[in-house]
Symmetry: C2
Amino acid sequence: MASDASPVSAKTPVTLREVAALAGVSVATASKALNGQGRMTAETRERIRETAQRLGFRPNSLAQSLLRRRSFTVGLLTNDTYGRFSLPVMSGISDALVDKGVSVFLCNVEDDQRLGQLHVDAMLDKRVDGIIATGKRIDRHLPVDLSNLGVPVIYAFTQPDPGAVAFVSDDAGGARLAVEHFWRLGRRRIAHVTGPASFAVVHARAQAYRDVLTEKGLPVMEPLLGSWSEAWGHEAVTKLFDGKLSKSGDEKPDAVFCGNDQIARGVIDALRERGLDVPDDVGVIGFDNWQIVAEATRPPLTSVDMNLAALGREAGLTLLSLVGGEPAAPGIRKLPCRLVVRQSCGRPPDG
Amino acid sequence: MASDASPVSAKTPVTLREVAALAGVSVATASKALNGQGRMTAETRERIRETAQRLGFRPNSLAQSLLRRRSFTVGLLTNDTYGRFSLPVMSGISDALVDKGVSVFLCNVEDDQRLGQLHVDAMLDKRVDGIIATGKRIDRHLPVDLSNLGVPVIYAFTQPDPGAVAFVSDDAGGARLAVEHFWRLGRRRIAHVTGPASFAVVHARAQAYRDVLTEKGLPVMEPLLGSWSEAWGHEAVTKLFDGKLSKSGDEKPDAVFCGNDQIARGVIDALRERGLDVPDDVGVIGFDNWQIVAEATRPPLTSVDMNLAALGREAGLTLLSLVGGEPAAPGIRKLPCRLVVRQSCGRPPDG
DNA sequence: TCCATCTGAGAAAACCTTTTCCCAAACCGC
DNA sequence: GCGGTTTGGGAAAAGGTTTTCTCAGATGGA
């Protein structure tokens, strides 16, 4: 039955002309019948529909696009080859667009200007309806100039051109989430171990960390900046527990908020090697919620999730409305993070 | 200068008609001039070229595609959302195609049949020249039927339909590489810790492991099957070093070949906890060469790389030749792995 | 019976490019 | 000066669809 409805072999796609011929009408009428336009008897319309169905007719998108000046296609530019960050973003974009019949050209431009231009030109030639730029860093430009392209551009998780629309994660908010979570759990000596000063997010998160501690009247330890690696997490534990960092004396931290999950992993391993229990002696929170790391950590790591898929979805929908002609206020929109609680922080003291 | 050559604003794309009008020729002549076809005076050709350049003319791909019945577009289907495996494959594909002006639609179908059909239909409507299917497992089908689509299909790192062209990694060969490397280093009691029996690659690698040991006249320990996790690597070390596994007595392994890098990481951590040195006491080799894990391991992990990018490149080129009408023999082609040597195996005894 | 209105459906233009033919003018040799 | 060839370039069809305009016939009212 079902297999009867679809043609056995679709070697050459069926055209509207063939449908029309078989239904004994003109292509104009056939087109209108299938699109619910025009006026004709119900029988005629039904007959055409049925013929189209039987032949497995599907309109040629290329022809439609040419006419409508709208290709139902968007380009996604990234420089994040192995896509820890941009892949969830892509997934969200695709999610938002697939139902509207929009397909996504994925283009990895590495950090190569030539490659970037090549891909952008190819997209433009193929008349994409719009372009989304994403990347591996929120504070770096893609190696391409996307201004004055003649199509709308949205930035997601990458540095936008001035005057453009961009979506990024609210890193400060995410950091607050983590530190306040520690506070609610009764932790009072909270340290922060994070990445290199060259990253904007390092400062945003560190400042939020300081702000929360200040608000709560807790001692502020200067954030420890290093690299994004496990090794640095390891090393930082030595600094934290062997050195004298706290202004308020030599008390050791009972919580460490880490700039990413790999650092957190290094911290947890180092703590264990020192005989300190996580979470009983020291609570640990990571950032990025990189599932495969967070879940492999012992104990599983509580981590801040940047909601990248949601960010992508938002970007996709906004691009679509831009394509549809609705204006969007330029500027950077920050989307909230969320805290994914696992077992590296313990329970509330009264819980 | 350079900015003079390109239009300040490309709001509405320039058409050939406009170029022709401005150059004072017909569109036919303009087309021929720009494509190096037809016959005309050198001056005419140059004048048209120059006009096109000045106007920033770029031919409308949609119109070209419609005419040529070739969209210079391929679809890439995957179910590997967070793309450990499929992303390198994609990268290789894109690499192979971008120079030929071919763009890639990336479609993540999860494991959802409806989503799969949706994406395939969208691709077909957009008249992709071909489709490449990839995934996260070599022995699983995508949730879509790709037979009789009317366009060529290539499978890469996923289970093909019978009679199709497929590229996969040579897992047995990769395993041989690892075990023979141990052998060359003088290791003689080599264990194998790997993933669940439900994976075809587990058996392929285990068999190759047995084969090499047998060829070399070494004792064969039964491979330890578990999960793909660090935790299992940890647990396996207990079994290996506390139980009696070797037929030839109770000697402990001096090398462990692991089914993936996460297991290897668990193994290394567990060995350290036992006071065993890697690589001095025990050598360890992983599989997948997942850089971020392999390099974070202490010591950095020697691992088998499946050359997924090369696999993708091969798939892309083959698809292209299929699109070009050249026939390709159906069947599964296995591409060699390579061993990436880091520091978890030590040096040759005489080195 | 005749005019006006409405109904169902088709012709044709449009989207943009490529390619095949075709034609007029120039040129050549005689 | 004339037939034949080359040269430079244009007209038109093709690709598949949508949309506007048009039109013939039917219907309704007077």
